[in-house]
C-alpha cells in the first residue's frame, strides 16, 4: 500500500524547513506571483530553489500554488515564471485555470499538475474532464461527504487530495467575490479580505455572521487512508511555526501509528488534545459525516483565543550541562509544568526547576519574548534546533 502523503503549508523558508522536519512529506508554497495569498511573505525564486534543495535532500516534495484566477494582464508573465520555477526544482503546480493545466502538462511532462480546490470539484464527472487534460491530482472541494469522496475515488484514476485541518471558506472556493465588493480586494487573485468573518447589521437583531468553524479531521484519518485518499492537506500558509510544528507533528504521529497498527483510542485522545491546544477557534468535520449546519458555524464573534502555550523555540541543547538554549515566546516561571517536543516526534514533560538568563544568571521568570534563556533538563531525548517548549500547566493551577 502506498503511504498517504501529509502535505503542509509553508509561508516562508523557515516554515518549509520546520514542517518538513516535523514530518510533512511535502509542502505547498506560494511564489511572489500568481498565488492566492498575495499578502503573505511568499517565496522568491532563490528561496524556492533553496526550499526545493532542502526538501529533495530529505526525499520530500515542494508544490507551488499558481492558483489565482488569471486576468488578461496576468497571462503575459506567467509562462516565463513557470519556466523559472520549474528550473528551481518544484515538483508540482497547484493550478485552477485549465488553460494553464494544459500548457504545463504539454511543456513539462515530468512536473505534476494538481487541480486547486479553487475549482470546488464536487463530482467524479468533472474529474474525468480534467483527466483528459492530463491532471495528476485533484484537491477536492471541502463540501463533500465521506460517501461522496469514496465514490469519486472509485470512479476516477487521478490521485485525490483532501483538506484535513485549518480554516474554511464559508462559500464554495472560487465562487465568492464578497471581498471584491465589500473591500475592493480581489478574492480570486490573492487579496481576499475574509469578509465571511465580518459581522453585518440585520435590523435590530443580533448581527448576521456566517463564519465557519475550522476543520479538524484527526478522528477520520484512518477512514481517509482506507478510502484511498492520496494526500492529506493542512491549511495555513500564514500560521505560526509553533502551530505548524504541532499540527504537522501530530498528524505525522497519527498517520505513522495507523500504518504501524498502533493507533489506539488513548493515543488519539492525546493527539486530539495537542491539536485543541493550538486551535484558536472551535473545530468541526463540516460535511464529512453530515450536511453542515449551525453547529458548524462560528457565532461567537471575533473573540478568537490568543494562544499563550508556546513558551520557546529551541536553539540548541548542551548535553554535558543539561541546558536547553531557547528563544522565549511567552512568559513562564520556575515551577511551571512544561513539555518539550521535537521534530523527531519525542515529547518530554518536566517541571521547570532551573531557569537562566542569557548571562547565565539564575532567574525565576522568563518575561521577555525573543530574548535568549536557558532551562535545565536532563534527558536522553535527541534535542535539535526547532524543538519547541509549550506550557502544560502553570505552577499555581490545577491541571
Amino acid at each position: 500500500m502506498r503511504k498517504i502523503e501529509l502535505l503542509s503549508p509553508a509561508g516562508d523558508l523557515e516554515r518549509l524547513k520546520v514542517t518538513l522536519l516535523y514530518g510533512a512529506d511535502a509542502v505547498y508554497i506560494g511564489g511572489e506571483k500568481y498565488s492566492l495569498r498575495a499578502n503573505a511573505n511568499n517565496f522568491s525564486l532563490d528561496e524556492i530553489r533553496e526550499g526545493c534543495l532542502f526538501a529533495h535532500k530529505l526525499g520530500k516534495k515542494v508544490h507551488l500554488t499558481l492558483n489565482i484566477v488569471f486576468h488578461n494582464e496576468d497571462m503575459s508573465g506567467v509562462f516565463q515564471y513557470i519556466d523559472d520555477v520549474v528550473d528551481c526544482g518544484i515538483d508540482a503546480f497547484i493550478v485552477s485555470d485549465p488553460f494553464l493545466i494544459s500548457y504545463i502538462k504539454k511543456k513539462y511532462t515530468n512536473c505534476e499538475v494538481h487541480l486547486s480546490t479553487q475549482n470546488s470539484t464536487t463530482n467524479y464527472k468533472s474529474i474525468q474532464f480534467f483527466e483528459k487534460q492530463g491532471i495528476d491530482r485533484v484537491v477536492l472541494a471541502r463540501e463533500l461527504s465521506r460517501d461522496e469522496i469514496g465514490e469519486i475515488i472509485n470512479k476516477v484514476d487521478t490521485d485525490i487530495e483532501v483538506f484535513i485541518h485549518g480554516a474554511m471558506c464559508t462559500c464554495f472556493s472560487g465562487r465568492c467575490a464578497l471581498s471584491n465588493y465589500v473591500t475592493g480586494r480581489d478574492a480570486n487573485r490573492g487579496g481576499c479580505s475574509q469578509v465571511c468573518r465580518f459581522s453585518f447589521e440585520y435590523g435590530n437583531k443580533k448581527d448576521f455572521t456566517f463564519a465557519t468553524k475550522d476543520m479538524n479531521m484527526a478522528l477520520y484519518i484512518r477512514d481517509l487512508i482506507e478510502m484511498g485518499v492520496r494526500s492529506l492537506k493542512v491549511e495555513g500558509r500564514m500560521r505560526s511555526l509553533y502551530y505548524l510544528a504541532t499540527v504537522i507533528g501530530t498528524y505525522r504521529n497519527i498517520i505513522d501509528d495507523y500504518y504501524s497498527h498502533s493507533l489506539t483510542n488513548d493515543k488519539m485522545k492525546v493527539y486530539q488534545s495537542r491539536l485543541d491546544r493550538v486551535a484558536n477557534r472551535e473545530t468541526s468535520t463540516h460535511f464529512f459525516t453530515k450536511k453542515a449546519d449551525y453547529k458548524d458555524q462560528y457565532y461567537t464573534g471575533r473573540s478568537e483565543v490568543s494562544n499563550q502555550d508556546y513558551l520557546g523555540q529551541v536553539i540548541s541543547y548542551d548535553r554535558d550541562n543539561k541546558l536547553i538554549k531557547f528563544y522565549e515566546r511567552n512568559y513562564f516561571e520556575v515551577g511551571d509544568l512544561i513539555e518539550l517536543f521535537t521534530p523527531f516526534g519525542d515529547h518530554v514533560e518536566f517541571v521547570c526547576e532551573e531557569l537562566f538568563n542569557e548571562d547565565m544568571v539564575s532567574i525565576d521568570v522568563a518575561r521577555h519574548p525573543d530574548s535568549i534563556y536557558f532551562i535545565k533538563l536532563d534527558t536522553n531525548v535527541s534535542i535539535c534546533e526547532y524543538s519547541m517548549l509549550r506550557l502544560i500547566k502553570k505552577n499555581n493551577e490545577s491541571r
Binding site: Y124, S126, C176, A177, N188, A292
Partner: protein, 281 residues
Amino acid sequence: MQLLVEFENKSLSCLNSVDGIILPLIDYSVESVCFFSLDEIINIKNNNKIKVFVKINKNLFNSDIDEVKDILIKLDNINIDGIFFYDLAILQLKSELKLNVDLIWSQTHMVNNYKTCDYYYDMGVKYALLGKEITLDEVSEIIQKSKIISMVEVVSKPSVAFSYRKLLTNYFNDINEEPINNIKVKEKVTDSFYDIIEDDNGTCFYLDSITNGTSVIKNLYEMGCQFIIFREYGIPNFDSLVVDTMKYISSGCSSKNYVTKYKKMGDSTNFFFKRTIYKVK
C-alpha cells in the same frame, strides 16, 4: 448585439420584446430567483421564436450526474440555444454524449481572460459569460483577442457569492427564531447592503445595488460584443427598460436620450471602470 434577459418571475412579461431569455433550471441552477422545470422550458422553447438558453450552474454532486445526463439529452433534442454551465461535468457529458447543444462557460467570477476563453472554445464551448469583476478594458481585450463569443451582464443586482451552507437557517437557529429565506443586511464599514437568499441548493449573496451598465452598452456595441444580459431581479420598470434597450440597440446605440433616461437607475457601473486590488502592501 442581442439582448438576453433573465426574469424575476414566471409571467415573462416582455418575452416577445427581447432576442432571447435565460431560464434557470429548477434544482440545478443557483444565483437566480425564479426557476423553471424542464417541461416548462420545453414548452417555452416550442412556443416562442426567441432564443432560449438554460442555466445549469450549480456545483454538481455525484448524485446529480445521471439526471443531468438525461436533462442534457432532452435539451439537445429540442435544440435549445445554449446551456450556461459552471461545473465541468457538463462539458465532459456533452463530449461523452456527443451532443450538439451549445455551451456558455459561466463560472461566475472566473471568466476573466482571453487565453482561458480560447481554451474553452477549443474544447467546444461557443460562448463565455464574462466575469462581473473585470473592467471594460479587460472585456474589450477578451472580445478582440478570443475566438469565443462573449456575453456581458450589463444590468442586474449582481450575485456576489454562493455557499452550499444554509446560512439563514443556521443564523435563525442560533438566535432561536423561525428561519426566513430572504434577508437584507448592512455591512457596517462601507454602509453597503446585501440581499441574502437561501434555497435548497444553498445561500446566495446579492449586492443590493443596481449595476447600471446602460451607459456602457454603446461601448460594448462598438467593440463587437454580441450579447448583453439584463437580469430583472430588483430592477424597477424592467419591461420599459427592455423595450427601450431593444430600440437603442437597433438604432446603433445612437440615442443620447436612452442613457440620460436610465441614469435614474443609479450610477454604479460595478467594476467596468474600477480595478480591484490584490496586493495591499
